[in-house]
């Protein structure tokens, strides 16, 4: 079969099983778009800005586990995609981003819409390719998917000069079933001896804690993590990226850890004697001050990426491998082990954790005449019975969603944890809805974040992806305002906007339903009404208490046992510890 480069790309994507391409046309990709026009199998989702394409593909990938595919033109199309590529990179999300490039003969001449995409994307991709020979295009696409989805996943850019897709140049087509790359061999199975040492240490622990992250979600190891945790009876905390990997409503789950983690999770980390980190990377938002991080603990770390191990925190037993097979091996070893978990010590440990839990660090003023954002999330959880896919933007609302929506299933919590990209949530929700058309999908956002990709409301209408936008409108960039309140003596420098659009009218202008909610008693009925409108995108503009802060909080550079709690300053927290 002889095909043009454009046809080869489209056929390769079909052979790869791609359902959706998120993209935006332009000069350098016109041949490709013409080839797309002449087929029915792959659906193209036309976004309104290339950043939206990358986030939508990213949301689709996070929810379905399949790689997201993006198609953008050269120059500004490519640069607009960069924020979304970096977002996926920091959270290890598999994307294949195809960017058009000017034709080979004019590369380097500052041609119209020319930008060095390979150079610009290099620091925020797992790998990238410039296609310089059309006979290698199919193989390059295969390699891109292989690299994006294996080992520690990540985005891969394939930059295709326009002349590589010339409809008049046809070459034989063959899409390889498998590809191997001699310089790329990710480790799958963990080292047996290390795993055995880890299990011995785990079973000798008196104050153990399981600290798991996004790697468990990406590695489809939620079931194994749950079995492992229940078998041991140890407390478990999840990172922001790991929420849902272990059921949040389970009694062994002690909440998220880190900067806005629960009191009990952070205290348990601080006081623990053995930590097992599973698919988590000791991010600065998790560890706080490094030299005071878990001072008494021996640390086991399972990660598919050797570079994540001992990067910030020195670990005692590293295990390089995929989380799922390593946990399977550990479960077997624990079952057959001559030692069982230390019953007496565990009882005392759980009693201690119970004392920390009794502080009820997530409690808030439930009698306020104003709408408390925490209340909205709790109601959202109840109305959706905890089953919705929740995407979020970045800021206070993101933390409240993480704290108060109790995720029981993996891949249901979709947020930009690493890069912290405002504007991520709504296009991501569109991607999720395409992946799961029958599921409830909500985007928890704020009036600042939502405006960063608001144009995608138009995409949501065109492709009939009825999502619910929960806009926690506090008329501030809440997280910026919170930091300014705590560390800049409430000098709210540019953390509010003098003009905010009428979101109800805006939603209606885009062809959706808009709702304005400003009383606590309206929240529940509004949510019920919104989710009952199965075929409509609904924008709920919820006017919340503008002074509300996210607690607990470990301020940057402080340690796990130095938390700011609601109604307590850090000094009194310290007193309590002493």
């Amino acid at each position: 079969m002889e095909l043009s480069g454009a046809q080869i790309l489209v056929q390769s994507l079909k052979d790869e099983g791609v359902e959706y391409i998120f993209g935006y046309p332009g000069g350098a990709v016109l041949h490709l778009y013409d080839a797309l026009f002449q087929q029915q199998d792959i659906k193209h989702i036309l976004v309104r800005h290339e950043q939206g394409a990358t986030h939508a593909a990213d949301g689709y990938a996070r929810a379905t586990g399949k790689p997201g595919v993006v198609l953008v033109t050269s120059g500004p199309g490519a640069t607009n995609a960069i924020t979304g590529i970096a977002t996926a990179f920091l959270d290890s999300i598999p994307l294949v981003v195809i960017s058009g490039q000017v034709s080979m003969p004019v590369i380097g001449s500052d041609a119209f819409q020319e930008v060095d995409m390979i150079g610009i994307s290099r620091p925020c991709v797992k790998h990238n390719f410039l296609v310089k020979d059309v006979t290698k295009l199919a193989e390059t696409v295969k390699k891109a998917f292989y690299i994006a989805t294996t080992g520690r996943p990540g985005p891969v850019v394939v930059d295709i000069p326009k002349d590589m897709t010339d409809p008049n140049i046809k070459v034989p087509y063959h899409y390889p079933k498998k590809v191997s790359i001699r310089s790329y061999n990710p480790t799958v199975v963990g080292h047996k001896g290390q795993i055995k040492r880890a299990v011995d240490l785990l079973l000798s622990a008196e104050r153990p804690i399981i600290y798991s992250g996004g790697g468990v979600v990406l590695g489809e190891a939620s079931r194994e993590l749950t079995e492992f945790t229940r078998l041991l009876g140890y407390p478990i905390t999840n990172t922001l990226m790991g929420l849902g990997a272990y059921p949040a409503t389970d009694k062994q789950f002690i909440g998220m850890l880190g900067m806005h983690g629960t009191y009990e999770a952070n205290m348990a980390m601080h006081e623990s004697d053995v930590i097992i980190a599973i698919g988590a990377r000791f991010d600065d938002r998790v560890t706080g001050k490094l030299d005071r991080f878990c001072p008494h603990a021996k640390i086991i770390h399972i990660d598919v990426d050797p570079a994540s191990i001992s990067k910030t925190v020195k670990v005692d037993i590293p295990i390089v491998g995929e989380v799922k097979p390593v946990l399977e091996q550990m479960i077997e070893l624990i079952k057959d082990h001559k030692h069982k978990p230390h019953k007496k010590a565990l009882e005392a440990w759980w009693a201690q954790i119970g004392e920390w839990q009794a502080l009820k660090c997530l409690e808030y003023d439930r009698n306020s005449p104003l709408i408390k954002p925490q209340y909205v999330i709790e109601q959202l959880w109840e109305v959706t019975k905890g089953n919705a896919y929740i995407t979020s933007d970045v800021g206070q609302h993101q933390m409240w969603a993480a704290q108060y929506y109790r995720f029981d299933k993996p891949r249901h919590w979709i947020n930009s944890g690493g890069l912290g990209t405002m504007g991520f949530g709504m296009p991501a929700a569109i991607g999720v809805k395409l992946g799961f058309p029958d599921a409830d999908v909500a985007c928890v956002t704020g009036e600042a974040s939502i405006q960063m990709c608001i144009q995608e409301l138009s995409t949501a209408l065109q492709y009939d992806t009825p999502i619910k936008i929960i806009n926690l409108n506090n008329r501030y960039m809440g997280m910026v305002r919170q930091w300014q309140e705590f560390t800049y003596e409430s000098r709210y420098s540019h953390s509010y906007m003098d003009t905010i659009p009428d979101f109800v009218k805006l939603a209606e202008a885009y062809g959706h339903v808009g709702m304005h909610i400003d009383k606590p008693e309206e929240v529940r009925p509004a949510l019920e009404q919104a989710f009952a409108m199965k075929d409509r995108t609904v924008f709920l503009d919820i006017i919340t208490d503008r002074t509300e802060n996210v607690f607990p909080m470990i301020e940057a550079g402080k340690a796990h046992n130095d938390m700011k709690l609601r109604g307590l300053d850090s000094a009194s927290t310290d007193r309590e510890l002493a």
Binding site: I118, G119, R122, P123, K126, H127, L130, I147, I181, R182, S183, Y184, D305, P306, A307, S310, K311, K314
Partner: protein, 164 residues
Amino acid sequence: MRHIISVLMENESGALSRVAGLFSARGYNIESLTVAATEDPTLSRMTIVTRGSDDIIEQITKQLNKLIDVVKVLDLADVGAHIERELMLIKIRSTEQNRLEIRSLADIFRGKIVDVTASTYVVEMTGPSEKLDAFIAAIAAEAIIEVVRSGPTGISRGESGLHL
């Protein structure tokens, strides 16, 4: 501590910039970097001289290994015995008074005079970097017109080698 890191990688355009970009993005220092194709023309070998604590060097080797184009990474400090050589070309202003001295110094340092004009010598010299430093120090500073150094490359002693 100073380390010499050998990197075996795909001989493809852009491979060098991936390595250089990694060092600048993560704030690692590069004292020198040399690169050329190996006996297998599809592979290049790069030698990087860098400095850092053990933790930093561990991260550097891990991050290099993580690059898709990188086949193998070897820290020559880890393999123990190794040979390190750097090439220098040095252009020296020659006068009636110093001509003999330069020639005998070049001999002592096992350098070769590879170009002679009425007023200049070019000396070619290889050796560990310290030897080249010592030669430069032995020549009067005002006599030195130009110094070109390749940066060190290195190879381990014994049977083992860095290949596929």
